[in-house]
Amino acid sequence: MRRIISVLMENQPGALSRVVGLFSQRNYNINSLTVAPTEDPTLSRLTLTTVGDDRKIEQIIKHLNKLVDVAKLVDLTEGNHIERELMLIKVKATGAQRAEVKRVADIFRGVVVDITPTMYTIQLTGTSDKLDGFIAALAGTPILEVARTGVSGIARGEKVLSL
């Protein structure tokens, strides 16, 4: 099952490499990873998505917790949560396709952020599924480039991940 794990860790050199290294060392998958400092500049928040059965996820969480730089973490998929990913996608848009691409982008609430006579750059946010759905909906339209940020997430309601 796909999981979203959010990690609060020391914003120190080497901390990220320990997390990434753990995954390769123990043969776990990382599907996406995003990291940036929080409102407290000494702390970073790292969000990653991975897949595995319950046993594997339990081990991943335990091993992440063992890292000295990791202060706290949460498996967001265990409860209600908000998941967002941002995608910038450059597609060919000429002739009749130009209107069609715009219409699909509107349906997905995408924003055209750059244009040339032959292409659009569209910005889209949402769950990874929605982003995948948009790419699927563009079938037939040549995609020139895709840049996705990876998933960021936060729990719904009063639950917070903080020190």
């Binding site: 080497g14 320990r18 339990e58 917790n65 000295v68 730089d69 202060a71």
Partner: protein, 575 residues
């Protein structure tokens, strides 16, 4: 407040931390530190002949004393040579501080002479690591490093220090922090009382129980409490390879080591049990055998460990307890005391009858050879008698290691010093140096083989320089015995690169060349007397080269893919 350079601060901090010895080898990036060593007399530096040996010596020191050993190496090759020893310590959860010199800060990342990314290279095999960015940070980093290395599940910590950080001309105020707090690191202080209660209830109602104790009991100083509790319960106890000595081997409740080369009775007792209390053990594949689905099918598993990641990693625990062994055992002991009347004495009696029946199989019986040929097991038996079971025994890796584990009956913790998890050949002699330095008047025997000993033979020179009277017991079967055994059993007897009889050195002459005493033993009839002679030379290193039967295999041996009850018992018998 004193003004000190980075190098001086490092030495002061180590002294303030109670360090007696540094095991090391100098080189360019560490020279400021070496000069600081020269100008003080509080911490003694032991000059090894290869950095790998420095790590094993520090490791042996930790295992024997419980205090973290300290290593100092230079950058580049010095640091990478230390890697095997760091990995060895990591796999066996041994506290160790490894200080590596590094190129100056301004040269970092430029592929400078002797530059290696030590933090990166060592990352998967350390508990934590620090790159020192400023000299002023040294005291706090040393404090944190020792705290991290020794608390929770212990492990090695690397401190990488760029050369200019230890510049003798740049001085700062020094003060050593009394306490340390790391907000992202909080090892458990005690177990969950509810879980402990639940575990003890199950333990007391067991009909076919066994206590399975590992190296964590020794590292956590829990041997005495474990022994008390086991005796109160009257249950059988088995120790892992790493746990030998956690419970006395000569106690009637001890059924021997378990696992791949465990006794028949230990493995059978495990397999047939209905409750297993695992303490400080990690259900390693050398214990469970390769197919965990066949592991102890009837057993309810109670698992005490300080590392939650060790629990339910391979075998699912029914009652997990995360905590240090001493407070958990204290709580358990009280509950056992109070609930002792619940023990099913009749069932336990029947259980012991079955165990005693398994014991009659005498799985460690030595089949004697003809013509005065020495069986390797007999060497360990003789060693046990000559040293009256009271030696510190270090070992290398292979058949001799298993024979030592099986036939030297360890009654005390911290006496059996071997590389269990990583299985590092070349560990034994340098580890023995660390033990002998810690206990100068103790008998320290290094049980080794002619393969392993040659992986760190150069340390004979360190032993000479430091007058370390280690006794090296070399089980010489003229082959890589364990490799050859597997080739006999699984590869149709094709001994691919496991023999070298025609190119072995004369170990007696070799020992003499290094300024030590060498003794060769070839006949069973002279085994004990010559061993006695060797061990009587209290202040000398004696290299005892014992020519043993090259055909011998280690048994029992687990059958791959089977349950714990499936073993080869000799070349011709199996369960």
């Amino acid at each position: 407040m004193a003004l000190l350079s980075g190098g001086e601060m490092l030495l002061r901090a180590l002294h303030d931390e109670g360090v007696e010895f540094i095991f090391g080898y100098p080189g360019g990036a560490a020279l400021h530190i070496y000069d600081a060593i020269f100008r003080q007399d509080k911490v003694e530096h032991i000059l090894v002949r290869h950095e790998q040996a420095a790590t094993h010596a520090a490791d042996g020191y930790t295992r024997a004393t419980g205090k973290p050993g300290v290593v100092l190496v230079t950058s580049g090759p010095g640091a990478t040579n230390a890697i095997t020893g760091i990995a060895t310590a990591f796999m066996d959860s041994i506290a160790m501080i490894v200080i590596s010199g590094q190129v100056a800060r301004e040269s970092l990342g430029s592929d400078a002479f002797q530059e290696t990314d030590m933090i990166g290279v060592s990352r998967p095999i350390v508990k934590h690591s620090f790159m020192v960015q400023n000299p002023q940070d040294i005291p706090e980093i040393i404090k944190k490093a020792f705290y991290i290395a020794t608390t929770g599940r212990p492990g090695p910590v690397v401190i990488d220090i760029p050369k200019d950080v230890t510049d003798p001309n740049v001085k700062f105020e020094y003060s050593y922090p009394e306490t340390v707090k790391i907000r992202s690191y909080s090892p458990p202080a005690k177990g969950h009382s509810g879980q402990i209660k639940k575990a003890v209830d199950i333990l007391l109602s067991a009909k076919r129980p066994i206590i399975y104790a590992g190296g964590g009991v020794i590292q956590g100083e829990g041997s005495e409490l474990l022994t008390q509790m086991a005796r109160k319960l009257g249950y059988p106890v088995t120790n892992t390879l790493m746990g030998l000595g956690a419970f006395p081997a000569t106690d009637k409740q001890f059924v021997g080591m378990l696992g791949m080369h465990g006794t028949y009775e230990a493995n059978m007792t495990m397999h047939e049990s209905d409750v297993i209390l695992a303490i400080g053990a990690r259900f390693d594949d050398r214990v469970t055998n390769s197919d965990v689905k066949k592991f102890c099918p009837d057993a309810t598993i109670l698992h005490v460990d300080i590392d939650p990641a060790s629990i339910s990693k391979t075998v699912t625990a029914h009652v997990p307890i995360v905590g240090p062994v001493v407070p958990v055992l204290k709580e358990m002991l009280e509950l056992v005391e109070a609930g002792k009347s619940k023990i099913d004495a009749a069932a336990l009696k029947v259980w012991w009858e079955r165990i005693n029946h398994w014991r009659t199989r005498d799985s460690l019986k030595v089949v004697l050879a003809d013509n005065d040929v020495i069986k390797p097991q007999q060497v360990i038996q003789a060693l046990y008698e000559v040293t009256q079971g009271d030696a510190y025994v270090t070992s290398d890796v292979g058949q001799h290691q298993m024979f030592a584990a099986q036939y030297y009956h360890f009654d005390k913790p911290r006496r059996w010093i071997n590389s269990g998890g990583l299985g590092t050949m070349g560990f034994g002699l340098p580890a023995a140096m660390g033990v002998q330095l810690a206990f100068p008047s103790a008998t320290v025997a290094c049980v080794t083989g002619e393969g392993s000993i040659q992986m760190n033979i150069q340390e004979l020179a360190t032993c000479k320089q430091c007058s370390l009277p280690v006794k090296i017991v070399n089980l010489n079967n003229k082959a890589l015995g364990m490799v050859k055994q597997w080739q006999d059993m699984q590869y149709g007897g094709r001994h691919s690169h496991s023999t070298y009889a025609d190119s072995l050195p004369d170990f007696v002459k070799l020992a003499e060349a290094y300024g030590h005493v060498g003794i060769k033993i070839e006949k069973l009839s002279e085994l004990k007397s010559k061993l006695q002679q060797a061990f009587a030379m209290k202040d000398k290193l004696v290299f005892i080269d014992v020519v043993v039967d090259p055909e011998e295999h280690v048994y029992p041996m687990a059958i791959r893919g089977g349950g714990m009850n499936e073993m080869f018992l000799s070349k011709t018998e199996r369960t």
